[in-house]
Symmetry: D2
Subunit: 483 residues, 4 copies
Amino acid sequence: MRTAQEYKESLRRMRPNVYKFGALIEDVTNHPATRRAVEGHAQIFDAAQREEYRDILTTTSSLTGERVSRYLSVIGSAEEMVKNVRMKRLMFNLTGTCTGGRFVGFNAINSMWAATYDMDHELRTDYHERIRRWLTNAQKEDIALAGALTDPKGDRSKRPLEQNDPDMSLRMIAKDADGGIVVKGAKVMIAGAAEANEVFVLPGTGYKEGESDYAVSFVIPRDTKGLTVVEARHPSDGRDMESGFDNPVELGGITQGYLLFQDVRIPRERTFMAGEWKYSLEAVLNFIAPYRSAIGGCVAGQGDVIVGAAALMARANGLSEKVFRDKLVQMTVNNETTFGMGVAASVMGKLHPSGVWIPDAKLANVNKVHVANLPYETKRLAQDIAGGIAETGCLPSSQDINSPIYGDLLQKYLKAGTDGETRAKVARLIEWLTIGEGVPGCMHGGGSPDGAKLMINGAAEIEANIKLARKVANLKEVSAPEK
Amino acid sequence: MRTAQEYKESLRRMRPNVYKFGALIEDVTNHPATRRAVEGHAQIFDAAQREEYRDILTTTSSLTGERVSRYLSVIGSAEEMVKNVRMKRLMFNLTGTCTGGRFVGFNAINSMWAATYDMDHELRTDYHERIRRWLTNAQKEDIALAGALTDPKGDRSKRPLEQNDPDMSLRMIAKDADGGIVVKGAKVMIAGAAEANEVFVLPGTGYKEGESDYAVSFVIPRDTKGLTVVEARHPSDGRDMESGFDNPVELGGITQGYLLFQDVRIPRERTFMAGEWKYSLEAVLNFIAPYRSAIGGCVAGQGDVIVGAAALMARANGLSEKVFRDKLVQMTVNNETTFGMGVAASVMGKLHPSGVWIPDAKLANVNKVHVANLPYETKRLAQDIAGGIAETGCLPSSQDINSPIYGDLLQKYLKAGTDGETRAKVARLIEWLTIGEGVPGCMHGGGSPDGAKLMINGAAEIEANIKLARKVANLKEVSAPEK
Amino acid sequence: MRTAQEYKESLRRMRPNVYKFGALIEDVTNHPATRRAVEGHAQIFDAAQREEYRDILTTTSSLTGERVSRYLSVIGSAEEMVKNVRMKRLMFNLTGTCTGGRFVGFNAINSMWAATYDMDHELRTDYHERIRRWLTNAQKEDIALAGALTDPKGDRSKRPLEQNDPDMSLRMIAKDADGGIVVKGAKVMIAGAAEANEVFVLPGTGYKEGESDYAVSFVIPRDTKGLTVVEARHPSDGRDMESGFDNPVELGGITQGYLLFQDVRIPRERTFMAGEWKYSLEAVLNFIAPYRSAIGGCVAGQGDVIVGAAALMARANGLSEKVFRDKLVQMTVNNETTFGMGVAASVMGKLHPSGVWIPDAKLANVNKVHVANLPYETKRLAQDIAGGIAETGCLPSSQDINSPIYGDLLQKYLKAGTDGETRAKVARLIEWLTIGEGVPGCMHGGGSPDGAKLMINGAAEIEANIKLARKVANLKEVSAPEK
Amino acid sequence: MRTAQEYKESLRRMRPNVYKFGALIEDVTNHPATRRAVEGHAQIFDAAQREEYRDILTTTSSLTGERVSRYLSVIGSAEEMVKNVRMKRLMFNLTGTCTGGRFVGFNAINSMWAATYDMDHELRTDYHERIRRWLTNAQKEDIALAGALTDPKGDRSKRPLEQNDPDMSLRMIAKDADGGIVVKGAKVMIAGAAEANEVFVLPGTGYKEGESDYAVSFVIPRDTKGLTVVEARHPSDGRDMESGFDNPVELGGITQGYLLFQDVRIPRERTFMAGEWKYSLEAVLNFIAPYRSAIGGCVAGQGDVIVGAAALMARANGLSEKVFRDKLVQMTVNNETTFGMGVAASVMGKLHPSGVWIPDAKLANVNKVHVANLPYETKRLAQDIAGGIAETGCLPSSQDINSPIYGDLLQKYLKAGTDGETRAKVARLIEWLTIGEGVPGCMHGGGSPDGAKLMINGAAEIEANIKLARKVANLKEVSAPEK
C-alpha cells in the first residue's frame, strides 16, 4: 500500500486542471488553496500503516485476499459497515476535517458494485466484470478515489428534459463503437477532487423513461482530457493564503469543486452504466444508505474535536471545564447520537446478492435528519462555553498580535489561564470549527434533510402503525378522506 | 413452554398478598386493578407460541439447549442483545404497554449472572452455581419473573447508614446457619410484581465498606411469607373499575408496587449476594447497560402506537394524515432514535467472561437521556395532530355518550370523519396514551436522566478530546485551574 | 360587587341543567364534579375585594364610571390589556387552574363590542346599543359570565352546509317577529359553563355568503330553557369523588362542557348578531387577538406553581432546589416568555373606533405557538426534578398510605426530607399539575397552533422581507415560479 | 442634525489611531476594513432626515426641547424604550448589520445618567451636572458615540486585584488636581469605535471595596492621545479587500476593536465616576437592562433579512417559498419572540428618579437567553431552505464565475430560477448572513447567556413560587437541607 509520500508524488504527476480564484493550481500538494486538504488525505495513507489504526483503515480484499485500503473495499457485512462508521470518526479526529471525497468514492464503488451486478444478471451486460477489473487494479495501486453525484439540476421544479438547457444534468452525448461514451455537463460541489487520482461518477438521481442519456456511471482519472475542476470558496478561505495562525489547522482541509465536463470521452472498461435508466434509482439509493449511515461517524468525530476545543478554551480562560459539565454532556449526547444511529443503520441492514451490505434506509435517513441539526447545536454550545474571545469578530489577527507596535499590549491583555498567544490560538480554533473554514457541509452534504424526511415518511409505515393502534384499543377501521 | 392459560392459573394458585386502595386483591387475574396487566403479560406467552414472533420472544437456552423464553435467557451476544431491543418494541406494539416487570427480571438475571461469576472466581463462593440451578428450573417452568432494584432511600443527600432509619434501603438483618438470610426494608415502584410468579431482587446501588448489610441479591416467590405488595396509583386509574370505553385498552396495563419486606427469610439456594459490597456496583452497572439500551425499543414501540393513533384520529376528524406529514415524520424520527441508539449500544458492547454480553455504557446512557425527552415530544405532537377533541378534559364520559337522555345528541355532535362513538373512542385512546393510564414512566424508570448524564460525563473522555483538539491545531498544553 | 357567598347563592338559585356521568348535578356548588371549579371562580370575587388585588381584578367601567370586575369590562387601552394578562397569571397563581370560562366571556364581550359597533355604523342596526344595555346591567349585578365559541364542526374538510347534518355548527332556525331568534346545535368544550350565570355565544368561525344562519351571537342565562350542559371528563377525575388527598387541590378546578341547544329562544335584547355573516370573521379575529395574548399570562401563572411545586419536591426528597438551578431557570424562561409575549402583543395593538383595544395579531399568534409548546417542556422538567416518586404511577393511594394494615410501613418508607405523608402530598401535586386533573388545555384552547401558524404566515410579510434582503445586497428581483 | 456627509467629514478630521492587519488605517471612511461599517453608520444620519423613519430615529431632547438623535437621548418612558427596540430592528433592516457601537454608547449615557444622579444626591458630587453639559453639547453636534464596557479581565476565576497583572481591567492610575484622571488598561471587543467620534467608557463590572481604582466612567474623543484601536478579524474579512461580489453587502458592516489605553488623561468635565465603587454595579445593571431588551429588536431585524434572503434563494432555485412555509413560520416566530420580549421588558420597567426608564431585569435577561439561541436556529433553517448552493464551501468565487476561461460554464451550470450570477449572489448573501462576515455576535454581545441565567435565577423568586404551590395544595412547609 502507498505511503503518504507516494500519494503526493502521484498527484504531482498529474496534469494540472484544478483552478481557484481564476488561476490554475500548478501543484495541488503545495498550493495554499489545496495543500491542507492534500495533507489530510495523506494522513489516511500514513495512518493505514500504523498498527493502532490498521484494523479500521484497511481490510482484506474480497477480490484478492490482500490487505487493502478500506476506502477501496466492497463492504461485505454489518461488521465491515460499522468499521466504516468508525473510520469516518477516526479520520475527522485525525485531520479536523471530513476527507469527504474519499468517502463518496468508497460509497460509489459499493453502490455500483450492486447495480452492475443486477444489470449483468438481468440485461446480460458485462458492467460488473468491468468494475471488478478496475477495482482489482485500483486496490493494487491504492489510488485516492473521489466520487461525484450531484448535478447542477437547474430549475428545481423541472425534470432534466424540461430544462431550457439539456446540460443541467450530466449526460451522454455519444456512444463509441467499442462501448465507450462521451459525456457533457457538470458535477458540482464535489469533495476532494483536487486530492484524488480518480473520480467515480454516479447518476445524480433516479431517471425515468426517456431520460436514459442521463443514466451514466463511470470512473476517470481526475486529469482526464476535457475535465476542468474549479474549487469553491470556503468561509475565511482568504486565510489559506496568509501566514500566521489565523488558519489554525495545517494537517487537514476540505475542497469542493465544480467538475466541468467538456465532451469527455470515457473508455469502455471504465463505463459502468450507459443509459440503463431503470437502475439509476437503485444506484442512488444504494449510495444513500451507507452514506447517511457513516456520515454520523464523521459528525461525531467533528464533535469530538469541538468538545476538546471548548474544554481547552475554558481552561485558557482560567476556568475548569467542569463549570460547563451540562453543556459538554449535551455535546457528547449529540456526538454519540449521530455515531450510534450510524451504527444502528449499519447493523440493521441486508446483504445484496452481489455481496454488498446495504444499511437500513429508514435509520440512515433518520440519521441524516440528526446530522442536519445536532452539529449546529454542538457548535452553538462551543461558542457558549468559549466566551467573548471566540465570539465572531472579537479577536485581532495574528499579524496584529505579533505587531511590533502594539503586539505586546494585545498579548498582555489576551492572557488569562494561559499566555495571550496560546489563548488566541485556541480561540481561532473555535472560530475555525464553528464559523470558519473548518465547518463542513453537514446540512446538504449527502442530500438534503427534506429529502431524507420524504424517505422516512415513505418508510414510516403509517398504515402498519394504525393497525397496531386499532388492535390495542379494539377500534374499527376509519378510512382516510378521498381528497 | 407455558400457555397464557397456564400462566394465569399459576397466578391464581399463589397466596394473595397484593393490595390496592386499602384492600386485598383476591385474584389478580380478574381484579380490575390488575387484570389488564395480567392480560398483557399473558400475551407474551401467547405470542411466544406463534411462528411470527418465535425468533424474537424465545431463544435457545445456553444451559439446556432447549427453546426457552428470551425473558429467562442469558444474553450471550450482540445479536441476542439486539433481539432483546426488538422484543421490547414488539411487546409494546402488542399490548400498548411496557410489561416492564419482566424486563427488569430479565436484566436482573443477566446482571447477577456476571456478578456471581466474578464473586465465585475471586471469593470462592458458589453463588454462580446457585443461580445456574435456579435458572435452569425457572426456564423449565417458564415462570413470569419480575425484578426489584429501587430502594426507598430516604433523604437523598445521605448514605444508608446516615439515615435516621437504617431500613431506608433493603438490608440483611440476619444470616442463617445454612447460608440463607433474613431481610427487612422495601423495594419501591416495582413493575409487574402482581403479575409475577417470582421477584429477583438486586442491590439498589453500589455500596461502600461498612454498608455490607445492604449488599443483597436473591430471588423469591412473589407470595413469600412476610412480603406484602401495595400497588401504586396511575393517572385515571379510577376508570379501571368502570365499564364503558373510558379505559380504552383491555389487553395491556402497567402495575407498579411497593414491596414491603417484613423479616423475610431467603433460603440459601435463592441467595446470590449476602454482604459482598464490592460487587454491588458491578451488579448495578451490568443491570443499567442492557436496561438503558433496550428501553429504547420499548419507547419506540410506544411511539409506533402513538403514531398510529394520531393518524387514526386525523382520519376520524375527517382529515388525511398527510396534512400532518411533518409531525408524523418527527414522531418517527423520535421512535427510530431511541430504537437505533438501543441497537447501537447493544452492538458496541463486550462479552463478560461469564458469557453475558454487556452493552456499551456510554451509548446506553445517551439513550436514557433521549428516553427522558423524546417520548414527551412525541406525545405533544400527537395531541397537536389530534385536535380539540383529544385535548385534556374535552370529551364526555362513555356513560354520557350512551346516556338515554342526551347520548344521541352527543353522538350526533361528535361525528366527523366517522360516527361519534368511534371518534370518541379514538380520542380516548389518544388521552390514554398521552395523559392517561397508558403513559409509562420513561423519565425515571431505569434510573434518572441526571444519573445517566453523570455517567456520560464520566465516559466522555474530555481529556482525550482535548488531546485531539490540541493535535489538530498544534496547540500546547493548557492546564485546568486548581480550584 | 358580589361576594363569593353571593356568587354561590346565585348559582344555587339556577335551574339545574348540568350533567356528568349520566346524572344531573343538582347543586354545582357542592357536587364533587363541579365544586372545586366553583370554588376557584368564587375566589375571583373574594380577591376582587382585597386591596392587594383590586387594581388587577377590577377597573372603572367606561359605561358607568363605577368600579366593576375586569372580567366584565371593555378593554380600553394597552395598559388595561396588560392588566388583563397579569390578571390571568394572578388567577392561576391563586387557584392552581385557569378559570378559563370567565376569560372567554370577557373576550367575547370585547369582540362583540367592536363588531356590533361596526354593524350599527354600517348596517344601521342597534346591536351595539343592546350589548351596552346588557353589559351595564351585567356589571351592576356582577354576574359570572362564560363564553362559547367552538362548534362541533363535523368533518373538518367540509364547510357547514357541505356536512351531511346542517347542525354541526350552531345555527339560527327561526327569527321572531320582535327580533329575537331560535337556535339549534351545540357549542363544545366550553369552559366554566357550570360555574357561570350566563354564557356569551360567538360565531365559531368566519362564515361566507350563503352561510348566514350560522352567523349568530347572543348572551343567555346558563339555565335557559332548551339548553343542556354535559361536562367532559378530565384525567383522573374519578378522584373528584374520593376523599383523601389524591385530588390535592380543593380551591380550584376546571370544567369543560358540551352545550346542547334544543331550539333555544333568544330574546331580541340578548341577540347581537343574527345572520350578518360579513362580520363573523371580524368577531372571531377580535376574539383571538386578546385571547392568544392573555393566555400567555395564564400559562405563566401555571408555570409559577409548577416551579414552586418542583422546588418543594426537591426539598421533600432531601435535596436543595439549587441542585436543579439550570432546570428551574429554563422553566422560568418558559414562564416569562409566554407572559412577555402576551404583554408585547397587548402593547403593540390598536384602538378600535368602538373604544376596544385590539392586541397585535402576529405577536398574539406567535404566543399561541409558544403556549402549545413551552408548558409541555416545563412539565417535563418538573417531572425530571421531582424524581421517581412523582413519576407516573409510582405512588400508592392516600387510602393505602393511611391503611390500618400497612399504612405505617408506607409512611416509613416514603419519608425523606420530610415525613412520608407530606412528601406523598407534594408528589401528588406534581402528578396533578403535570399528568393529572390540573393540566389545562394549552394545545387547542383558544384555537390550534396550526391555525396560529397560518395566521403568522399571513402576517409574516415575506415580500417585505425579500425587499429588505434585496436592498441590503443590491440584488435584482427574482420572481416566484408560477406553479 | 448632521447629514451623512457631515458625519463622514467629521471622521476624516480625526487623528488616525485605528489599526488592522498590523497597519494604520489612514481614513476609516474609505479603507476597505472600515468603510462598510462607516457606511452603515452614515445611514443612521440619512434615515433620521427621512419622514418615514423620523419618529423612530429622533426624539425631543429632555434637555433642550430640540429634535435630536434617539441615540443621544435620555430614555424617559416605556414608550421611548419601545421605540428604542424598534430602532434597533429598523437599523438592522436598513444596513444588514447591527451598528452595535451606537447602541452601546446610547445605553452608556442612560446608565450613567442614573448613576451620576444617585452619586450627586448621596455623595454631593457634581457628576450629573457634568454629564448633562456634555450631553447637551453632544446632542447639538450630533456626534457618533460608541460605548465601551468589557475589560480583558484575565483569569476568569480571579478578581482584578488577584490577577498577576493589575491592568487586566481598566483602572485609574492617577487623579489630577483639577478632578481629571489618568487611566491605563484596555477595553476589548468594542463595537463601532472606528466609526465613532467619541467613546463612552463604563466600569466593566460591579466592583467591591478596595477595588475603587477600577470604578471609572468617562467619555473621550476616539482619537484622544494615548488611545490606540486595533480592529478584530471577522469571518471571511479577507473579502473586504477584494473586488467582486463575494462580500455581498456594501451598505453596512461591523467592526469590533481592542481599545488600548496607555496612560490616557481624562479631563474633569468628561469624568463621570472616579473611584465610587459602590455605584459601579448599579451602572452595569442599568446598562444591561435596556441593552438586553433592545437587542431583541436587533436580532429580529437580522432575522427579517434572513427570512427574506431564504425566500429569495428558494425562488432563485426555481421553487416557491411556499414549499418552506413551516420553516419560514418558525423563523418568524423566532424573530417576533426576541422582538416581543424586548418590548415586554421595556414596558414592564420603572422610572428612575433621574428620569431614566429602566426596563424589567428578569424579562430582559430572559430575552438575552433567547438571543443566544434563536438566531442560531434561524440561520440553520435558512441554510436548510437555501439548498446545496449555499452550503458552506459550495460556490466558486466571483472571480471564477467571471473567469474568461470557464466563467461562462460556471454561469451556465449555476442558473436555475434565475441567471447564474444572480443566483450566486443570493447564495453569497445567505453565506454572509449565516456563516460569513454578516454574522453579529449574539452569543456574548451584551454579556454571556450564563450570566443572564444567573440573574434570572436571582429574580425567579423560587420562594414565592413555593408559597403559591403550598397554598394551592394546602401543604405544610418543607425546609431546604442545610448543605
